[in-house]
Subunit: 391 residues, 2 copies
């Protein structure tokens, strides 16, 4: 009876919405998830968000969003784990459902980055790093990721052009995704010639700043999930087979190896064990490519390739539509967008839609098992989920 | 097997520590809790905190504190529910333990308010209120509580002197509490003549600004709890019998009655039901007296008195040492102190120590059942816990 299922999903288009507040975006996504679950009302809400305290100057976000979504009074709280807030919120919400404390749990994520100027956003996002050990000395969050990208290129002998095939493919997929922030194709030339942000990262190697919200509904028990699916005229259900959250140091200087995402290595192995799967069993995968480098490292540290091989294999066409696993058909953080605390929830929503065969963009090839990887900071946090479709 | 027990507790003195960071304070409290649990290492950490993003400009707090406490790598995240962050973190941590996902869970709270000037703290705390509907128009958090205090005094005909017996008694208890921020007696005259903050609230009607951290360790299963207690030479164990989190609107303008804390009413009834107790069964109680008014309303809305009666009964000596329930022998938020996101955890730690007969200040009269009430905002959040001592 402790099996947990995703019975409703919702999400908004990602963009820079100067006319939509976090409340508006979130209630749009949550209403969609409730409707998708046949009108089932959540009895608790866990919200993933990183920057509301700083950019919106608003705390009490969990209760505020519950109230604005017509659910005043239910248990609600906000989870913060930097860019991994959405995944961590899912971890917390899953445990609420699994424990039997609440029988219908909503997990949502929202981020509103256009509330302020870009300079404020850069500073707010740097709070994912260690303020005393890193940011104080001038590091930005992009700067820290640039350090890793440079170290990777040096160790394995890759060029900027080798690396550029990640954003190229993400833009291709996003061009078919109706809620992507950057739904347009690009070229290797455009990527290489885009403005320098923090060497070796240029603009097109980085995910954009955007607003968005995603939400999903969890219930416990296969019979409940079957009943809701039937009522919605759907013949498949999606089970959460594995969920794991692991952490690492916040500051990069305390790590043994800049190029091993320890939290991803540990969380993925734990989630696979919980789900009873191996990497080779996974048909569909959404990974956290806030920068091309974190996408490549995800593939390596989740066990899909050896160290240093992801860039080569990717350039050769691996992990594309038709391969196993198919990766980031949404367009990824790179081109679908990265509304920070919502991103981890977007990934799970997208994986669920792919398992149901209902994804509105580039469709996966009838996947049965899907996984998602959401990181916070430079993999200070990793949440891995493994989902399975049952007929 | 889903019964959950508190097997270790720790807390720091509360004060304005210009020489101690949040990391230092938190690891002090968590180390104490681990030692108290016979050295048992937590396998997950949930941290309650409100203001780190704004006053410390630091996110990623969960992983940062896990790492600094020697627990790098474990699942960790921060929970924000304004001043109720500690209680909400307990709710999330309890569900992790109860779900069976993690068998040793640490729940901690920390707040570092002296990182900045008082004016910044006032602004940061106002973020508990609705930024668009309340703070934008000039409301401070104390101002909103003053509004409620005035409405209460008007409706029930109480004077400032009637109300002043709350802080009087809290200072009396705090004078015996070695980790209280304000461990000194006061007088009705001093309370009445203290500086005006927001009419009718004067300085001594309000809790102070302070830094502090508290932590506790949860395990599942009575046998595990018994074994740890035996190894620590203790013949009692403390079970979490009830936990409930409920919410209300953030803005006061949307409520039907300013003087009914709906979240406290609902959460307490739910926690009592879960624990199988009535208010009359509760021997010991810690309530959230951020201002005297919220302490009185807690007693009414948790069902210990009728509406409008708490001030009268309190002045007559009810709820004092020797009565049932005995209330806030710690000195409460008023005089023990209120390190915002840590407060809910302090309360549970104190109740646990009282149940064990180990509280270092004013001791309760051999209580068997204890409860705590932690609110966030003006009871936008309430977490209620019910604890029971087993021999």
């Amino acid at each position: 009876m402790d099996r947990v299922f995703i019975v409703g999903v919702g999400l908004t288009k990602i963009g820079r919405f100067f006319d939509k507040s976090a409340r508006t975006l979130f209630s749009e996504a949550l209403s969609m998830a409730i409707e998708d679950a046949g009108g089932l009302k959540p009895k608790a809400l866990v919200v993933g968000n990183m920057t509301s305290s700083v950019l919106m100057e608003q705390d009490s976000l969990g209760a505020l969003l519950a109230d604005y979504s017509g659910l005043r009074g239910i248990p609600a709280f906000k989870v913060e784990a930097a860019c991994g807030s959405g995944g961590a919120a899912f971890y917390a919400g899953y445990s609420l459902a699994r424990s039997g404390m609440v029988d219908v749990v909503a997990v949502g994520g929202v981020e509103k980055l256009t509330e302020n100027l870009t300079s404020s956003v850069t500073k707010a996002l740097a709070q994912a790093a260690d303020m005393e050990y890193e940011v104080f000395y001038g590091a930005s969050f992009t700067g820290l990721n640039a350090l890793i990208a440079r170290a990777y290129m040096n160790r394995y002998g890759y060029t900027r052009e080798d690396m550029a095939y990640w954003p190229l493919r993400m833009h291709e997929y996003a061009s078919k995704n109706p809620y992507a922030q950057l739904p347009r194709r690009t070229t290797i030339e455009k990527i290489l010639n885009s403005p320098l942000i923090a060497d070796p990262l240029h603009l097109y190697d980085c995910s954009p700043i955007g607003d968005g919200a995603a939400a999903l509904i969890l219930v416990r028990g296969e019979e409940n999930a079957r009943r809701i699916a039937r009522e919605s005229g759907r013949d498949v259900i999606v089970e959460v087979k594995g969920v794991s959250l692991r952490t690492d140091s916040v500051d990069l200087g305390s790590r043994n190896d800049l190029l091993a995402l320890e939290s991803t290595i540990k969380a993925s192995r734990e989630a696979y064990r919980m789900a009873g799967v191996k990497p080779g069993d996974i048909d569909y995968l959404e990974v956290h490519d806030a920068f091309h480098i974190t996408g490549y490292l995800a593939l390596e540290d989740m066990g899909f390739t050896g160290k240093g091989e992801a860039v080569k294999l990717w350039r050769e066409g691996r992990f594309a539509k038709g391969d196993k696993p198919e990766v980031n058909l949404s367009g990824g953080l790179k081109a679908r967008g990265h509304p920070v605390g919502a991103t981890g929830v977007y990934q799970i929503v997208e994986a669920t839609l792919q398992l149901r065969g209902e994804f509105p963009g580039e469709k996966a090839s009838d996947p049965e098992i899907a996984a998602t990887q959401n990181i916070g900071g430079v993999a200070t946090y990793t949440t891995i989920t493994v989902l399975r479709r049952l007929r």
